[in-house]
């Protein structure tokens, strides 16, 4: 599963400006997650072993290079961001004590006092300036460069105060600061063979492709946290092996399990499944710039061929919500209810398919375990396609190297996109004409204009109207088919307490390390 960034508007209860500039900050220092799991008093001590779902020599502790969920989990052990999204996806202060803005363009951030790095150095405004500015340095090669580009000026106005000027107003900026890539590192850090941050654990060992070990940071600025003495974190790419390791008692938590493994885990006493409903989706990609298959009619035919109910039940065992071929979940406050739900419709599919003029030519469709459920979805499309004369050829490739070698390169294939903290970020990364991850190579200047206008729009109704129009454009004009939004599922031992869903991603929004404790 591809993991890039954080958050979604999934629950739609967030009011960024209000939360942060007025009352929101008062919550600082008290309980972060007032979930039911916290009803029990946390216990200190213990060591756990945790397994994520990828492992390679490209593993990193450089915040700018994080690409996979395992990178997020690892970096969250060692670093903090200025803000973080909570269970309701409201940004909460972390290293920032307060954030204020002047018309959403000039943002002033006051830093929390008494925070130190693992080597004892105190956190200063210079560290923040360095950590944020480096993303705009092409030599760094930051993944978050598109997000960072809006920060035209980042300067320290006092030892504990940073002022950031944006190129244009962005009401979502506090959410942007909570993006994991904007983890705060020490000024001048260039060597990432180990990690020195302000986070809950100190880096004891980091071996790319093998494992990471963090030991408790006794001087952590959140009182009492973290609860564990040590965490060993590593990747087990094979899902069966990961689940078996959990069942055998080798590990305490296994990230990213399939819906079909849930019954095995639930059946064993002492184990439980942790579900996080979120906006993650596996999408059908028809690249519009490809020869033969690269036309809108073919893309529409494919979208009409998706039997969403069957996919939800057979592949996801019901752990999913039906989508309407655009990336906004029904529970999002910007969701456009007026767009009719696209249904399984072989006749419409046939109409568009015949209009595409492809005929009996075999169209390869590339699938991989890397894009969860893609093989099964493609097989269903193939079966349905056979009935309207569409000859799909399912080509399964290994998970290793899928994102580098096949994703964005295959004419027809699948992607797997994680929730993003805001509609703006999601659309900018995957649908803007010049977005690096414009999966279907769909280019529409009108869409780009709307995106820009919505970003600076403070009026909610007008903004919702714009995002609503954009959803319709994606649904009807892009080459992307989004049949479902599925839940994140993790398996864990019941003795591991403190887990509460953060719809940013699985494993408690990739940040379980500082929140869990062992109840032996």
């Amino acid at each position: 599963m591809r993991e890039h960034e954080i958050g979604s508007d999934g629950l739609g209860r967030r009011e960024v400006m209000r939360m942060l500039t007025a009352s929101g900050m008062a919550a600082a220092g008290s309980g972060w997650l007032a979930g039911p799991a916290l009803a029990q008093a946390p216990k200190r001590g213990g060591t756990i072993r945790a397994a994520g779902y990828s492992s390679s020599t490209a593993d990193t502790v450089d915040p700018a290079k994080q690409t996979l969920s395992t990178d997020y989990v690892r970096c969250n052990m060692f670093y903090n961001t200025l803000t973080a999204l909570d269970g309701n996806l409201a940004p909460q202060p972390e290293l920032a004590a307060s954030i204020e803005s002047d018309r959403a363009t000039v943002w002033t951030i006051k830093l929390r006092k008494g925070v130190t790095f693992h080597d004892g150095k105190a956190l200063t405004a210079a560290d923040v300036v360095y950590s944020l500015s480096r993303h705009n340095d092409p030599k760094v090669g930051s993944i978050a460069k598109p997000l960072a580009a809006q920060m035209v000026e980042i300067k320290a106005t006092a030892p504990d105060e940073v002022q950031i000027t944006l190129s244009s107003p962005n009401a979502d900026f506090p959410v942007v600061l909570g993006t994991f890539h904007f983890h705060i590192i020490k000024e001048g850090t260039t060597d990432f063979t180990t990690a020195i941050g302000t986070g809950p654990y100190k880096c004891k060992e980091f071996t790319p492709g093998v494992r990471t070990i963090g030991v408790r940071n006794a001087n952590y600025w959140k009182p009492g946290k973290p609860y564990l003495d040590e965490i060993e974190f590593f990747g087990i790419p094979d899902e069966t092996a990961r689940v078996n390791a959990l069942l055998a008692g080798d590990i305490h938590i296994a990230g990213g399990i399939t819906p079909r493994s849930t019954r095995l885990i639930k059946a064993q006493p002492g184990l439980a499944v942790f579900e996080t409903p979120a906006g993650v989706y596996t999408d059908l990609i028809t690249r519009l710039d490809a020869p033969v298959s690269g036309n809108l009619d073919f893309a529409l035919a494919m979208k009409y061929l998706q039997d969403r109910e069957q996919m939800r039940d057979a592949i996801w065992q019901g752990f999913a919500v039906i989508g309407n071929d655009h990336p906004i979940t029904p529970s999002n406050r910007f969701y456009n209810k007026d767009i009719p739900q696209r249904a399984f419709d072989p006749d419409r599919a046939k109409f568009h398919f015949q209009k595409s003029g492809i005929g009996a030519t075999a169209i390869p469709i590339v699938v991989s375990p890397a894009a969860a459920g893609s093989a099964e979805m493609a097989v269903m499309l193939q079966e349905a396609g056979g009935k309207i004369g569409l000859n799909l050829e399912v080509r399964r490739v290994p998970a290793d190297g899928y994102w580098a070698n096949h994703w964005l390169k295959s004419a027809v294939g699948y992607g797997n996109i994680n929730p993003r903290p805001s509609v703006d970020i999601l659309m900018s990364l995957f649908f803007k004409s010049d977005a690096p991850w414009n999966e279907s190579a769909w280019k529409d200047p009108k869409f780009d204009q709307l995106l820009l206008a919505a970003r600076g729009e403070i009026d909610f109704a007008r903004r919702k109207q714009m995002y609503g129009d954009m959803q319709l454009m994606i649904r009807d004009q892009s080459g992307i088919g989004i049949p479902l939004f599925n839940s994140y599922l993790d398996g864990h031992v019941t003795g591991l307490k403190g887990l509460a869903p953060i719809p940013v991603g699985g494993m408690m929004g990739f940040n379980f390390a500082e929140n869990v404790w062992l109840d032996a």
Binding site: V243, S261, A314, V379, Q382, E383, V394, R395, R396, P398
Partner: protein
């Protein structure tokens, strides 16, 4: 021809039954193998689905029957090809000797030294997985083994008196091969064929495990085991049946060979 023992009769029956299943699959399978026929996945045996259903709710009986086509078909074709190429090269090398023998032996020796699964992996992942590619890859991988065996036998026979007599009569190389050498090596080559057949089935299974075998929705037996392997813990028929199918086929082929030939076999799995 001596009479077949009860065990070899049973073995023969199993092989013939699977071969029939492969040939007749389209007519006797109750459902199209790729169609999802129920929402009850990894279901147990039932009247409607005699072998249960797979992880997506497809009929296992139909999938196993169609799986026989791929497993048997690919294994038989590629093993035949491997034997054909190996025997041809081996005979030629034995009969002609000299530089041809030297070159062929060195090159095929070099091929044997590459681990078979990795060699298959490199070729298939670069050419893309399709049935012709799988057949060709398996055939090429198992050619050196067949070559070594047939060359060794041919060289031995070559040195025997009756061949020398024929040569003294002034017979040509082709005649020698056809009339004297070939009939004497049929039995060992057949034995070898059976073993290689088993190895090809296992190679295919390994390829399926790595996701490079037959492409979905089609599936050979190895793929069927792999895709339903999660059902193993509660003994789902979807994982047990194809595994049994592989085991019965390979054991039967082996038992059949044992009864046909009593010669020794000394070969490797590369």
């Amino acid at each position: 021809m001596r009479r077949l023992s009860p065990i070899s009769m049973a073995a023969l029956a199993v092989v013939v039954a699977w071969a029939l299943a492969a040939v007749l699959a389209p007519w006797i399978a109750p459902f199209p193998p790729g169609r999802i026929v129920t929402r009850d996945s990894l279901a147990d045996l039932s009247f409607r689905f005699p072998l249960g259903t797979d992880y997506l709710g497809r009929d296992m009986l139909s999938r196993v029957l169609f799986g026989a086509r791929y497993t048997l078909g690919i294994a038989a074709l590629s093993t035949s090809l491997a034997c054909l190429m190996g025997v041809t090269l081996g005979l030629t090398a034995a009969a002609r000797g000299g530089w041809f023998d030297m070159a062929a032996s060195r090159i095929l020796d070099a091929m044997i030294s590459v681990p078979s699964l990795l060699a298959a992996l490199v070729v298939v992942s670069s050419l893309g997985s399709s049935i012709p590619v799988l057949i060709a890859v398996a055939a090429v991988i198992y050619t050196p083994g067949a070559y070594r065996l047939s060359r060794a036998i041919a060289v031995n026979i070559n040195a025997m008196d009756f061949v020398a007599v024929a040569r003294a009569r002034g017979e040509g190389t082709l005649y020698l091969i056809a009339a004297e050498i070939l009939p004497n090596m049929i039995l060992p080559v057949l034995t070898d064929f059976g073993l290689r057949f088993v190895f090809v089935v296992l190679l295919l299974t390994g390829m399926s495990f790595l996701g490079l075998g037959i492409q979905p929705p089609n599936a050979d037996w190895g793929t069927l085991v792999r895709e339903n392997v999660e059902g193993l813990s509660f003994g789902a028929p979807a994982v047990i049946t194809p595994a049994l199918a592989i085991a019965t086929l390979t054991i039967a082929v082996n038992a059949l060979i044992d009864s046909v030939a009593t010669g020794r076999r000394d070969d490797d799995i590369r």
